[in-house]
């Protein structure tokens, strides 16, 4: 147990000086049009909205707002491009996708900086995770384009046509890559709608796509909010919808697509259980908890937001977790030492804070690290709730912030029952040193991705997607091809 005599002190002493990533290599235009048919064009109605830096609340650029007519233009451009693109020699198509991967690698620093400016995520993550994974994703799927017949034994494959893709604000460039890479490799053309709070890297990606020489109209990028997304989803000449976002919106989309026979994949919400058994490698498990819930400010659909710790080690784990939280640096996303950046938007911060209030009013005991946060911008210190149970809203509902709900358990059967006691099923974590228990647990967690003795790992070769209300279909790996092809006998 922690007493004043055996408590570690992390405050004060040797502190890291500011280490800001330079932004002199970053070019952001004052205003961005829509990327349709290979050009940046003005929106029909001439409406623009601001994209702001959530760390400073300052405007970064004005972004075109696409309405249904603009979306129609984009779909027409994609339609027109589909014939030649889908008939192109597959190996050639693949080479275009390889080019995109390479140019992203060349411009990696710029992409990383813009991702952090626009979305608030720490540069360490955009630099080490988002951007390299995005490039890797294009690289991986590029190679599939002329090998598709080997992916589906006994079937012939055909591209679907125009894919409408609506992506979220938590991994703006990476989600664009997850969507675009397989779609293009499989011979589809695309209308992509980035999230309204984080459009910049997708627009930068449009530059890359143009630089890579992709035929006009193969990729079209329309910016805007929910209405723009709805226009993409509802467009009659779109053949496939890929959506990543909340379960609530996913439900609306699944309904909207009813009767249309459009193919769709949905990557939706989650409330993953991260289960720590007493025989786990405790220090690595604590690190796994941190990666599970504080990665990307907790703006992660597969975040390990429900922690279950076996009672014998519960106090130890929570104490170690609190110590570790004290070493997390919250602040300027562009500082290379920042662990937790800015909350993506004022609206999201408000939502998170409302959950902190709910958690306390439900009787949960809240702990936040003692770090300071900047005055302007949107910030939330890493937060844990103990003394909560499955009946509490902070345990049941997706908060999408750096907020962890901790419960204890006694036995394997209790752990698995509670882990699965949720309408979601995107991911799960299990920590134990016993091999047989790992397999029993990973086999019985009803979730599409299970991390055993690790958490929040991603790779282009590794399929990702949920069970139950966490979505339909998979992205990544061989299994991610299916979403962009029709299989025929």
């Amino acid at each position: 147990m922690a007493t004043p005599e055996n408590t570690l002190a992390f405050d004060g002493g040797w502190e890291y000086a500011p280490a800001p990533e330079s932004t002199d290599h970053v070019e952001i235009d004052k205003r961005y049009g829509l990327f349709i048919g290979g050009d940046f064009v003005k929106p029909e109605k001439g409406r623009y909205f601001d994209t702001i830096n959530p760390a400073t609340e300052e405007r970064l650029a004005r972004i075109a707002e696409a309405d249904a007519a603009d979306v129609d233009r984009a779909v027409k451009a994609a339609r027109k491009a589909f014939g030649p693109w889908s008939r192109m020699k597959a190996a050639e198509r693949g080479k275009y996708v390889y080019r995109i991967a390479r140019i992203i690698q060349e411009r990696a620093r710029e992409f990383a900086a813009i991702e952090s400016l626009d979305g608030g995520k720490p540069i360490r993550e955009s630099r080490d995770v988002d951007v390299p994974l995005a490039a890797a994703h294009f690289f991986y799927y590029a190679g599939w384009s002329d090998k598709l017949e080997y992916a589906f034994p006994g079937r012939k494959v055909k591209p679907l046509g125009v894919a409408g893709q609506v992506i979220p604000w938590n991994f703006p460039l990476l989600m664009a890559a997850w969507k675009l890479a397989p779609a293009l490799a499989c011979g589809n053309t695309v209308v992509l709608k980035p999230a309204e709070t984080t459009p910049l890297t997708a627009l930068k990606l449009a530059e890359v796509i143009a630089d890579a020489g992709l035929p006009d109209g193969v990729v079209n990028i329309v910016t805007g909010a929910g209405e723009t997304g709805a226009a993409v989803v509802e467009h009659p000449r779109v053949d496939k919808i890929a959506f990543t976002g909340s379960t609530a919106v996913g439900r609306v989309i699944q309904k909207a697509l009813a009767g249309t026979r459009k193919k769709y994949t949905l990557e939706l919400g989650g409330k993953a259980a991260n289960v720590i058994f007493a025989d786990a490698a405790i220090d690595q498990a604590v690190e796994g908890i941190v990666n599970g819930i504080f990665f990307n400010q907790g703006h992660v659909c597969c975040a390990g937001s429900r922690l279950f710790v076996q009672e014998a080690v519960a106090d130890e784990v929570v104490e170690k977790l609190k110590d570790r939280m004290e070493t997390l640096i919250v602040g300027d996303p562009l500082d290379k030492n920042t662990d937790i950046g800015a909350i993506n938007s004022a609206a999201q911060l408000e939502k998170i804070e409302s959950y902190l209030e709910i958690g306390r009013s439900e009787g949960g005991e809240m702990f936040q690290s003692s770090c300071t946060v900047p005055d302007t911008g949107y910030w939330c210190r890493p937060t844990i709730f103990t003394g909560v149970s499955q009946s509490n809203r902070v345990v049941q509902e997706e908060i999408f912030g750096p907020v962890l709900a901790i419960q204890t358990f006694r036995s394997y059967s209790e752990a698995i029952a509670k882990a699965n006691n949720t309408p979601y099923g995107l991911s799960g974590g299990v920590w134990t040193d016993k091999g047989a228990k790992i397999f029993k647990m990973t086999q019985n967690v009803r979730a599409g991705v299970v991390w055993a003795n690790t958490f929040n790992k991603f790779d282009p070769t590794s399929p990702f997607g949920g069970y139950k209300e966490s979505g339909v279909g998979r992205e990544g790996g061989l299994h991610g091809l299916d979403a962009y092809l029709s299989l025929e006998a």
Binding site: A136, P153, G154, R155, T247, G250, R251, V252, Q254, K255, L257, A258, G259, R261, L266, L268, P423, I438, T442, Q443, R446, A447, G448, V449, V450, W451, A452, N453, T454, K457, D459, T461, S462, P463, F464, G465, Y467, K468, E469, S470, G471, V472, R474, G477, L478, H479, L487, A489
Partner: protein
Amino acid sequence: MATAAEKTRERLSVAKTYKLYIGGKFPRTESGRYFKLTDKNGVVVANVCRGSRKDFRNAVVAARKAQPGWAGASAYLRGQILYRIAEMLEGRREQFTAELNRQGIAVRAAEKEVDASVDRLVYYAGWADKYQQVFSAVNPVSSSHFNFSVLEPTGLVAILAPEDSGLLGLVSNLAPAIVGGNTAVVLASASRPLSAISFAEVLHASDLPAGVVNLLTGYRDELTEHFASHMDVNAIVYCDGGKRAARQIQSLAAGNIKRVVERSGIEWSKPGAQHPYLIRDTQEVKTTWHPIGT
């Protein structure tokens, strides 16, 4: 319900009461309702249970209860049980042929349908311990982790069986669902419901655990909304039904993000109507990561 043939015999035959099949039992519909099934001459062949939403609810409870055990059964065992179902059906070839005939199918066609149904069961029995090998993957991730993706059953599958293929259509949609460890609640063809219930007897005699397959008869118009909206159903497979049905089913399925599988216009007698991608339709891909270290 006497047939013309029976009328010439001296002995009065004992007609079968066609009931539902739920949780390994053969209850009557809780609603007490029925519909008359008549032959082409208008003679009543059977009073068929007009299954209700409550029957469906009960069937889902039974299917949910049976699901973990069935999914946990070894692939070998599931294959053996499907093969056993084929054996049992083969043994009742005459009965099923006659029954199909009574539902308006010519004897030759009926025989072919029964034979094809037996063969289809054998086909899927063989897939039980193989589809996983075809559809799984070891993924070469860049970090020091062992990463693999396997299929797991989606869970509880509701099936709206084809209307015009009372036995083969049923078997063709049921077998790929259950061979993969799902449990099923099936609404049989309303115009050819008898083979479904007799097939339930085959299932019952085939070591298939209670609740793995639950069969209802009734009106599709009446039950579709419940099949599509039930929050404890993980996937819905529907055969035919047109655009209106498609719209209704998927709208309601969105309530719990059900997997929606449409199988329209398929001629179930064709060899192309059987393939492992039908198994995959009601499977989830699970990807597991584990560090490689000492």
